[in-house]
């Protein structure tokens, strides 16, 4: 009975956190889906989103959720810049080249971030209250983060399926050569896609900053979770990534009702391996 109560108390936390995991993973999986590039700078960009929220909140007093708008814009522009500088030239090269290119960007961001910000933990001291329902405590910051995630997911869906650039993105993801023949400016679309991916990463970082402490190295663990979620949800499937995030959040929180937190990575990556072996296309299917 005690375990059941613990499970009941932990599940809502896991679900709310899973939304944000899913948002982060959507960024990674979108880039993979469109251009077959694994963005190893995903983690530091999440961390930059965290710092963006921190500085906007502490220096200007801007509400962290309103601050997500400039963070999203900066994340988009940063992604376009990274694509143009580091990824475009190796987009048609073997995967290792793009992997190394994004890894280099990862190291540059971490190096600069460590030099400028050290690795001391930072906190966004923002409270949004909580709701207590018996053994369940629903934190305001997490509920708002889940809501924001749903808004961004909805916005992404509308963009991809109701806008011309979105159609172009899907066309390029499907068949770049054919899209080019149809007059789609594939280079610009690829840059935009990369920017959208980093935008989602930065926004997820901004949300995570409202509930956990962070440093420039903090994005690494979320990057790893994004890989697991990407495989879980289906590589290249952004909506699958959202559901994958929810599943991972639930697994993380419910496992800790029975085990110590040290077991969580074992379970997460065990799941990663099992999915790769049993259903490599993911639970919701990979990009076709």
């Amino acid at each position: 009975m005690q375990q059941f109560t613990l499970l009941l108390a932990s599940l809502p936390d896991g679900i709310l956190l899973g939304f944000v995991y899913g948002l982060a993973a959507m960024g990674l999986t979108l880039i993979w889906g469109v251009m077959n590039v694994i963005n190893l700078s995903h983690g530091p960009i999440i961390a930059l989103g965290m710092f963006g929220t921190f500085f906007l909140f502490t220096r200007t007093g801007l509400n962290p959720y309103v601050g997500l708008i400039p963070i999203a814009i900066i994340g988009l522009l940063l992604g376009i810049l990274i694509y143009v500088v580091a990824v475009h030239r190796v987009i048609n090269a073997p995967h290792l080249s793009s992997l190394l290119a994004t890894f280099s960007v990862n190291m540059i961001i971490i190096g600069l971030g460590t030099a400028a910000l050290t690795t001391s933990p930072y906190n966004v001291d923002f409270a949004a209250g909580s709701i207590k329902l018996g053994p369940i405590t629903l934190l305001g910051t997490r509920m708002i983060a889940a809501l924001v995630t749903m808004l961004f997911t909805g916005g992404l869906f509308l963009f991809l399926y109701r806008s011309r650039p979105g159609r172009y993105i899907r066309a390029v993801a499907n068949n770049r050569a054919a899209a080019e023949l149809m007059g789609v400016p594939s280079t610009r679309i690829l840059a935009l896609s990369f920017g959208l991916g980093t935008m989602l990463a930065a926004v997820s970082g901004g949300l995570i900053a409202t509930f956990f402490p962070f440093s420039i190295l903090a994005g690494g663990s979320y990057e790893l979770k994004s890989f697991v979620i990407g495989v879980l949800g289906g590589l290249g499937n952004p909506i699958g990534a959202l559901f994958g995030g929810l599943i991972l959040g639930i697994i993380e929180s419910s496992s800790q009702a029975f085990l110590e937190s040290s077991w969580v990575p074992v379970i997460e990556f065990g799941l990663f391996v099992i999915i790769l072996l049993v259903r490599p296309s993911g639970l919701f299917g990979a990009k076709k």
Binding site: T119, P121, A127, S130, P135, S261
Partner: protein, 448 residues
């Protein structure tokens, strides 16, 4: 294609050569510059009449690593600040005069260990073999010190360990380690004694970081709590990089615990405190290791209120010359107030126990050199083994048995708690032992 590849490679090689020529030579981390310290020297500096034979100045190199980056950054920097303050004061006062005419001054050789054990081992090896450090100071934290102590012992280098409370490092048959801090196994004993007077029926949740230090604290605490009749209703560890304490907080609430004891270091401890507050656990007492002793802790705001910690030193309960006299022991060094004033003048912030420990580590080495009247490592080691003194930091007396050489025997902890003063500001008060307390314990702590 081949020509363009050749061109690219040529450009890259040329760029590499140019960058190598332009790049500054790799330098060890300089000890951070310190604002000019007050000219007040540590007490008991021997002076020499000008008619003595010509003095020869000898610079002793103290080697250590500091965590300028990584998980231990906050506390490590304070420890290093304290140590540098001591070193600058001694040097500015003219150094230590030995009877053979030698004037001993000190220089620090230090590197950033990035809070990583692997770096600690390679850097301490470098300090010994390349930089020829005469004596060593430990890095901050038990985990890093355990790594450094192996190197120190292998090379028979005296190492004064500061910020390293875990007991096991001293039970390996060493002869060169000297622990300044109260051992980890005794860390929360004072808190348990205080709790016995406040609420002997309290039910305890022990939730701690899964690292050497925190585990050693809990290993010592657990049997003591049981011997005092307390019921431990939850006993769990968490990974050092944990940021989401929600699941374990749910367990604490579910267990029915009224008191929480544990934590680890600053990053996890401060996060834990914040999330305990957010989740309105209704705990009557929260006692966390390390984090609440740091001057950054009030940045948590109301989440810091009522949180207590075991502290190696607090200014409000600093040790005094009178205390030393009452114990029949020798007093050495400045008073706590003198140290705190000098520290504040140098660094703006008031000193934490990490800073005080850094300073006291230098003080102990100074005393040992003075007692040995030599910088010969074996003589200094003998002086350290024979030492039984009181400084502003507290008692210093090392276990000299083969089984536990270097373990600190006489230094005691105090319990401090964040409370609000009349102006509504968070201040850290000493609440135990009663004879040095400057405030009553806040029990139960205010509900959020």
């Amino acid at each position: 294609m081949k020509r363009s590849m050749f061109n690219i490679l040529s450009v890259l090689i040329l760029l590499g050569v140019v960058l190598s020529a332009c790049a500054p030579a790799a330098e060890p981390t300089e000890a951070p510059p310190v604002a000019p310290a007050p000219t007040e020297a540590p007490a008991d500096q021997p002076t020499t009449a000008p008619t003595e034979p010509a003095m020869v100045e000898e610079t002793i190199t103290i080697g250590f690593t500091s965590s300028l980056t990584g998980a231990q950054e906050v506390a490590s920097k304070r420890q290093v600040n304290g140590f540098n303050l001591w070193m600058n004061q001694v040097n500015e006062a003219g150094g230590i005069n030995l009877s053979d005419g030698t004037i001993v001054k000190f220089a620090a050789q230090t590197y950033d260990d990035e809070s990583a054990k692997e770096r600690v081992q390679e850097l301490y090896t470098r300090l010994i073999t390349e930089d020829n450090a005469d004596f060593l100071i430990s890095p901050y934290s038990s985990g890093l010190t355990a790594a450094a102590s192996i190197i120190a012992e292998q090379n028979a280098k005296v190492m004064i360990t500061i910020g390293a409370a875990e007991d096991d490092a001293y039970k390996t048959g060493n002869t060169s380690l000297f622990q300044l801090y109260t051992p980890g196994s005794l860390y929360l004993i004072s808190t348990a004694d205080m709790l016995k007077t406040l609420d002997p029926t309290a039910t305890i949740a022990i939730v701690h970081e899964n690292d050497k230090f925190s585990t050693s604290v809990v290993d010592g605490l657990r049997p003591y709590l049981q011997s005092q009749g307390f019921e431990i209703v939850l006993d769990e560890g968490y990974a050092s990089d944990t940021t989401d304490f929600g699941p374990v907080i749910n367990k604490i609430v579910d267990s029915g615990a009224t008191v929480l004891m544990g934590g680890g270091h600053y990053p996890d401890g401060s996060t834990f405190a914040r999330q305990l507050y957010e989740r309105k656990t209704g705990l009557k007492m929260i006692s966390l290791l390390v984090a609440p002793a740091d001057s950054k802790f009030p940045e948590l705001g109301d989440a810091a209120l009522g949180v207590s910690t075991s502290s190696q030193w607090e200014l409000a309960a600093t040790h005094t010359e009178e205390e030393a006299a009452a114990l029949g022991k020798e007093w050495f060094g400045p008073s706590g107030t003198e140290f705190a004033d000098a520290y504040k003048a140098a660094y703006t912030d008031g000193p934490t126990y990490h800073a005080a420990g850094g300073y006291a580590g230098g003080l102990i080495l100074q005393k040992a050199i003075m007692d040995a009247d030599s910088v010969d490592p074996e003589k200094v080691k003998a002086a350290l083994n024979a030492m039984d003194i009181v400084t502003f930091f507290g008692g210093t007396d090392f276990d000299t048995s083969a089984e536990a050489h270097g373990l600190q025997l006489t230094h005691v902890m105090v319990v401090a708690q964040w409370q609000k003063n009349d102006a509504g500001e968070l201040v850290r008060k000493v609440i135990w032992p009663a004879d040095v307390a400057n405030a009553e314990p806040l029990y139960p702590i205010p509900a959020p």
